[in-house]
Amino acid sequence: MNWTWFHKLGSPKWFYEISGRWLPWLSVSAVLLIVVGAVMGLAYAPPDYQQGNSFRIIYIHVPAAFLAQSTYISLAIAGVVGLVWKMKIADVAVQQAAPIGAWMTVIALVTGAVWGKPTWGAWWVWDARLTAMLILLFLYFGIIALGHAISNRESSAKACAILAIVGVVNIPIIKYSVDWWNTLHQPATFTITEKPAMPMEMWLPLLIMTIGFYCFFAAVLLMRMRLEVLRRESRTRWAQAEVARQIGRSA
């Protein structure tokens, strides 16, 4: 197998060029998918027989929750890549993806709470999934805080990577223990994602929204990473040329 592409990825200049080509496509598909998914979910999907129209909140809650969890896992993967292969781009990815993941967790928590009001009669119920989400938010805060506290760029990225890896090992244990805790103390009667056999009109918008959220994540991550790469590489000639070009365009 040819691994040159993998090592090329580690080169900031190559990353900057290729990501510039991907970015417009990702942004356009994110906007299209999210708009189409939201319209389908809000207007065309049939109401749920138990929850009525309030179930339409899942079209943002579930994609955000998915994304929040997979972002944390990707933090750990990028962390391993950065630690093992010393790839600069992976270091950048760890620190730039963490805030996006934290915001997605916030979306999942807020929409879960708003959904809870008509369904459970309370803004917050200590339901297993919502509690696990809250813990995930705390894990994100830890990574972001550690990243800000260490001033040296390289060691800050490495420290965040280790924390993300420790956190990822912990996530299944947290999930298991929170589920167990929830059954020990009477569980909430039904949860936001528990759906017996959804009809196609119901899950298709969910699928579209989920893909849209992933595209959105990729686009925002690339935007953030490109800026950080420019900052880190500000001493190299290509980065200086790129900054000069951008200044000339905006002036």
Binding site: G142, L146, A149, S155, I162, L163, V166, G167, I174
Partner: protein, 223 residues
């Protein structure tokens, strides 16, 4: 290799007993926090008994957390940490000895004090063995996971609150299992299965955490 381990353990012991106040401080903290709760929620014995598993666990967890802030600090400041990193002995072994010493003089001491405080909260005498077992299995996890955070923050000037921020979410599973076991015992439910779960969690942490601690120390020293 085992020789280095015992030497390290002996060194830590000697250092600990040179400053006996630091040995006592977490214990006093533990007792004070427990005493705060009856004052805050009222002396009703039924309520205190229901709350006791959670209270004991949260107080023990905070006591360990506070003692962890200084775990690697003095070694970092006097340069011994750098010596360990460059020494031919595996850093993981040194770290394991260091954390074991911390657990012996902080975690184990808390475990020994806990029956007294549990009785004061109205826990029945026959539930004390479960409490002891759950704390005995859980406190090593607290020390080990906390040491990961301490290793990552040792080079920072104000690491204390950051350490809490990093480590407290990671403590949640052991908190849930530990206090859940005692709660199950209070309700007369079987606890063996949960204790086995706790034991496997402890084993997992003992095997994996030293590598994370060692990696964290390398980063902090390299900075």
């Amino acid at each position: 290799m085992s020789n280095v381990f015992t030497l390290m353990l002996l060194r830590e012991t000697r250092l600990m007993f040179r400053r006996p106040a630091e040995l006592v401080n977490p214990l006093v903290f533990f007792a004070i926090v427990i005493a705060l709760f009856p004052l805050a929620v009222g002396p009703e014995s039924q309520l205190l008994q229901t709350l006791s598993p959670g209270l004991l666990w949260v107080a023990a967890l905070l006591a360990v957390l506070l003692s962890l802030d200084g775990l690697f600090r003095s070694d970092f400041e006097d340069g011994s940490l750098e010596q360990w990193v460059v020494s031919p002995h595996p850093l993981v072994v040194l770290v394991l000895a260091k954390v074991l010493a911390h657990w012996l003089y902080c975690g184990l001491a808390l475990v020994m004090l806990s029956p007294l405080l549990a009785l004061m909260l109205g826990m029945p005498l026959d539930r004390i063995p479960t409490l002891l077992l759950s704390l005995l299995l859980g406190t090593p996890v607290l020390s080990l996971l906390g040491a990961v955070g301490a290793a990552l923050t040792v080079g920072l000037k104000r690491g204390g609150i950051l350490l809490a921020l990093l480590i407290l979410p990671l403590y949640i599973p052991v908190l849930i299992l530990g206090s859940g076991v005692i709660q199950a015992a209070l309700q007369g439910l079987p606890t063996t299965g949960y204790l086995l779960w706790m034991a496997s969690l402890t084993m997992l942490t003992v095997t994996l955490a030293p590598f994370a601690i060692a990696a964290g120390l390398r980063i902090s020293v390299g900075e």
